[in-house]
């Protein structure tokens, strides 16, 4: 079957030249004000409300957000299953808005794998290469190599229905990797696996990404998954990108209250800013507590700011030894840690997570009086 000329202009992107790891200068994908609206008029739903960011080549990039935030819509727009209603998507500089799914050098690992039940594992993996009209020997070699990469080489002649969920997952990954796409899209691929398998697969996915040098775009609602695997994360909510950054930036320097609350546990304390020195500010909480916090953009005299603090950044000591004294209100024993609500006279009690690492560590109980130490560097003023 003759390929159309349009295909020819895209096909060079498939060339098996090794990707350039670490060349951050060349973005793999550039999104500019991408919009997607379903329906028309009053009943229209805006799934994407102007998304702009870049994904670098050879990056493990994660779209993180609660269900309905638009992350899957965005992934499907990248794959070509949905047509964005506005904006541009560039793949290695080429605008692919009008390129249909089967001409995009982008492959997808589907949430429920979508393996062809009437084909063997090897036929599934060879499918994309056959459609690209690659020579038979090249296909055979690529199938063998990719199956080895996902440790499924002994299953080549099985049918997908004869495999376990974890094995199907590996085949789905192999099938999408076999044509050496420029970008691999993974739509919550681990969500159907049980916990142990999921954790093992995280490491493996990361290794495979490093080995192949393919840009991975990974969609998940699981913050642990996102933090443990990604080079960078885009946190999405309500059709908008809330923050793009490395896992450390996202967790330790969340851009706003949504990101802080969605990724990990957080304490939020309402306060007013009294004064500022360099990046450090002094603020007063509603409960009358005077605290020093980190706030680059905060202005003196600002009222109604939110202070943010991770529970594990709080240190407990004997009464009188911290910034403020409190009473343990509730306590959950988690084995390796203790999760407490400590009443410090604010509107809401302070959530404290204390690691149990030391044999001599004092065991807490509800009703204990404790001294609460708050490090000014871990207490941040949130923007908006």
């Amino acid at each position: 079957m003759p390929r159309t000329p349009e295909a020819a202009t895209v096909t060079p992107l498939h060339s098996d030249m090794p990707s350039r790891p670490g060349t951050g200068a060349a973005p793999a994908i550039v999104l500019e004000d991408v919009r997607k609206t379903y329906g028309r008029g009053a009943s229209a739903v805006q799934a994407l409300r102007g998304i702009s960011f870049e994904i670098r080549d050879n990056e493990f990039f994660t779209l993180l957000g609660p269900s309905g935030c638009g992350k899957t819509t965005l992934l499907r727009a990248l794959a070509g299953f949905e047509h964005a209603t506005g904006g541009t998507i560039r793949l290695f500089g080429q605008n692919i808005m009008d390129v249909s799914a089967h001409r995009r050098p982008v492959n997808t690992v589907f949430q429920h794998y979508a393996l062809f039940p009437h084909m063997t594992v090897a036929e599934n993996v060879a499918y994309g290469l056959r459609r690209l009209r690659r020579p038979a020997d090249e296909i055979a070699a690529a199938v063998a190599e990719t199956l080895r990469l996902v440790k499924m080489e002994t299953f080549a002649d099985r049918r997908p229905t004869q495999l376990s969920g974890g094995q199907q997952q590996r085949v789905a990954l192999a099938r999408a990797l076999a044509p050496h796409p420029k970008v691999l899209l993974l739509d919550e691929p681990l969500s159907a696996l049980d916990l142990k398998l999921r954790q093992a697969m995280r490491q493996e996915l990361k290794q495979i990404q490093a080995k192949t040098g393919i840009t991975f775009i990974f969609v998940t609602h699981d913050q642990d998954e996102a933090l443990s695997m990604s080079d960078r994360i885009a946190v999405m909510s309500d059709g908008l990108v809330q923050q793009v950054g490395t896992p450390t930036e996202i967790y330790e320097r969340p851009a706003n209250r949504f990101v802080a609350g969605f990724v990990g546990d957080a304490n939020f304390i309402k306060a007013a800013i009294m004064s500022r020195a360099n990046t450090e500010v002094t603020c007063k909480t509603i409960g009358g507590l005077e605290l020093r916090a980190d706030g680059k953009k905060a202005r003196a005299g600002q009222r109604d700011v939110t202070l943010f603090l991770r529970p594990e950044k709080v240190r407990l000591g004997a009464p009188g030894q911290g910034s403020v004294d409190g009473v343990v209100a509730t306590l959950q024993y988690l084995g390796n840690a203790c999760l407490m609500e400590v009443d410090i006279g604010e509107a809401t009690p302070l959530l404290v997570s204390e690691r149990i690492a030391d044999v001599d560590q004092p065991r807490r109980a509800a009703g204990d009086r404790v001294g609460v130490k708050l490090d000014p560097r871990s207490l941040q003023v949130l923007e908006e």
Partner: protein, 302 residues
């Protein structure tokens, strides 16, 4: 796909075309033409003359006397009434036998269930005419049922139980033919029924009868309604059963239509009866659609 390439509309039309054209041209159009025929005048040996006349419908209720005056006549109304009565009898007997059988099958282990369904489906896919014909051998004069009576001397030469060519024979034939259509939908809804609901009913102090009437019946109602309709509608318009087992004396709507076209050669009148039969069927289907919508709405509210 939310967005299809532009030629998708054309492709879709081409794909839908053949089926739509065939059903439209050879089903919808013929029924419409028949509707027109029912308002025309009959030619003596079949066919019609193209002049408007409501005679066909008048003929259903009135008899035209020699002096051209009309007299109320019950002949055809009795046939309509018999059709409804026999269809109802068939439906009720199918339900009485079909529900317990469906319940029994639904409570079997999976492998056995499939076997039972196969066994019930097989006769349904065999030739209706032949299966109805078999009942002549059973119910007929000197048939399987009469044979032992004759052998015991209870039935003399020339005497008969008179089972054949009766409303009873037609009802048996209809029940026999359509009962799989009752069992299958009821089975489908009973199979879906979570049996722990029945146990929950028992746990909450309802008696067997209460459990049955308040839990089993409401939850299997869609199947029961569908089954009743699937039996009632084809029974109402049945031809083979009244023709073979009613012996041309006990007419139903189906046989009356056929008689008008083949023997009486009064096409407008035959068309009129066919239109009336069709109207009944459509009315029942609409009632069903409304009931089904209501049930769906109830489910949504839940």
């Amino acid at each position: 796909m939310a967005n299809l390439p532009e030629n998708a509309t054309l492709r879709r039309s081409l794909a839908l075309g053949p089926a739509v054209l065939i059903v439209g041209a050879f089903m919808l159009v013929p029924v419409a033409i028949m509707g027109v025929y029912s308002f025309l005048e009959a030619k003596s040996f079949g066919g019609v003359t193209w002049s408007f006349s409501g005679d066909a419908y008048v003929q259903l209720f009135y008899e035209r006397l020699l002096d051209d005056s009309l007299r109320l006549s019950s002949g055809y109304l009795i046939i309509i009434a018999r059709s409804f009565f026999l269809a109802l009898v068939a439906t009720v007997s199918c339900l009485i036998v079909g529900f317990p059988v469906a319940w029994f099958i639904a409570r079997r282990p999976l492998g056995q269930r499939n076997m039972w369904i196969l066994l019930i489906t097989i006769p349904f896919w065999t030739n209706q005419l032949v299966r109805t014909f078999a009942w002549i051998i059973i119910l007929g004069r000197n048939g399987v049922i009469e044979a032992p009576f004759r052998w015991a001397g209870l039935l003399g030469e020339g005497e008969t139980l008179g089972l054949m060519y009766s409303d009873f024979a037609i009802a048996v034939g209809l029940t026999y033919t359509f009962i799989p259509l009752m069992v299958l939908p009821i089975y489908a809804s009973l199979e879906k029924l979570d049996f722990s609901l029945v146990e929950a009913g028992a746990d909450l102090y309802s008696s067997r009868w209460e459990t049955f009437s308040r839990i089993v019946i409401p939850l299997s109602k869609p199947g029961i309604v569908a089954g009743c309709l699937l039996v009632f509608i084809p029974s109402l318009g049945a031809f083979i059963q009244p023709d073979l087992l009613g012996g041309g004396k006990k007419l139903m709507l189906g046989t009356l239509v056929q008689f008008q076209f083949s023997t009486a050669r009064n096409w407008p009148f035959g068309s009129a009866i066919a239109m009336i039969l069709l109207a009944f069927v459509i009315a029942f289907l609409m009632l069903y659609a409304r009931a089904a919508r209501g049930a769906k709405a109830m489910e949504m509210r839940r």
